[in-house]
Symmetry: C2
Subunit: 202 residues, 2 copies
């Protein structure tokens, strides 16, 4: 498993991915991603290995019907907080879930539920960069927004999204994720719901 992750991390690096993008792709922390890119598969310094765990949901992501079913379960978590105008997916992996959730929630409530997309700051090389909402999809100003991501690793990205939404005059009503590695229940007053929580012991 470790070797497979090291191989993947090095391959992504060789294709020019930033550490943040590698962390995102492999569902590990930035520190773990950095460590992975520095190893070779033949000599892994196990003592220095960060204590982290990897999440692999390719069996889900590789099937559109499974994606639709699981997105419907996530939509059900979001609907606890009332009707949303916009479902905001965090790029990259939050976007397919958000797309299907908006579809399910629109059908469920009979009201237009639009998709918006957030580009998190971790995908920029520039240290002073800010996360931004894509102008290709729905606007968020004055809207009730549900934020969606695949995995919460450190919680930094969702904190960033909630701040940007509030600054833009949107009303974030909930954050929903597939898996939460941090056990977060709220971000700046906005409730966080996960379908599955994974937490380290020991």
């Amino acid at each position: 498993m470790e070797n497979e992750l090291i191989r993947k991390a090095r391959e992504l690096r060789s294709r020019g991915f930033t550490t943040g993008e590698i962390a995102d792709e492999l569902n590990v922390s930035k520190d773990t991603a950095r460590w992975l890119t520095l190893q070779t598969t033949t000599s892994v310094s196990r003592k220095e290995a960060p204590v982290d765990f990897a999440i692999n949901w390719e069996s889900l992501g590789g099937s559109s019907s499974r994606m639709r079913y699981v997105s419907a379960a996530m939509a059900d978590m979001a609907l606890k907080y009332g009707v949303a105008d916009v479902v905001l997916g965090i790029a990259i992996s939050g976007v397919p879930f958000a797309t299907l959730m908006a579809d399910v929630m629109g059908a469920e409530t009979g009201l237009e539920t639009s998709l918006a997309v957030f580009h998190p700051v971790k995908h920029r090389k520039d240290e002073g960069a800010e996360g931004a909402i894509s102008s290709n999809f729905a606007k968020v100003k004055g809207k009730r927004v549900v934020v969606v991501d695949d995995v919460i690793t450190s919680g930094r990205t969702i904190a960033e999204v909630v701040e940007v939404l509030k600054n833009q005059g949107a009303k974030p009503i909930a954050v929903t994720v597939l898996i939460d590695k941090k056990g977060i229940s709220e971000v700046d007053g906005v409730p966080v719901e996960s379908l599955i929580r994974v937490s380290r012991l020991g």
Copy 2:
């Protein structure tokens, strides 16, 4: 998190749960369950803590619509292996998934898909005990069977089920689980499919 698990483990123990049942309920290994029951929440010997991670899917389990959606995604994994006559849920937590999967798979294929229930040996105090198929639900002899559980922790239980099924003249065609902590791809020639894989690093 650790304290919460310790509290839960001790509470289950005080109600007479075996170590195997506690492991099952908390989705951790038997060793971890044993360790948890021996701690007090005020003085946790962190150095000796087993390296394990806890899975919490109560947000899913607490909602029948989310259970139905996720079971439909699991049914989709099972249907890759063709039509099944019986969906066998491993007691206790595999049973609700198996129940809904049998329902979804029957509707999907238009063919009768029955539920069966397996009592694993880990729930017995007696060391010489054997896992057994409940006589209250469908029989498995000569049937194409899909085995269902919530979480694979050590892989021992699914190996036990596959052996019992083969001994009883059934044809296990696949094992499907929500979460696999072991990264198992097959058991004695029977393919294992998980929606999500979680693996430890470091």
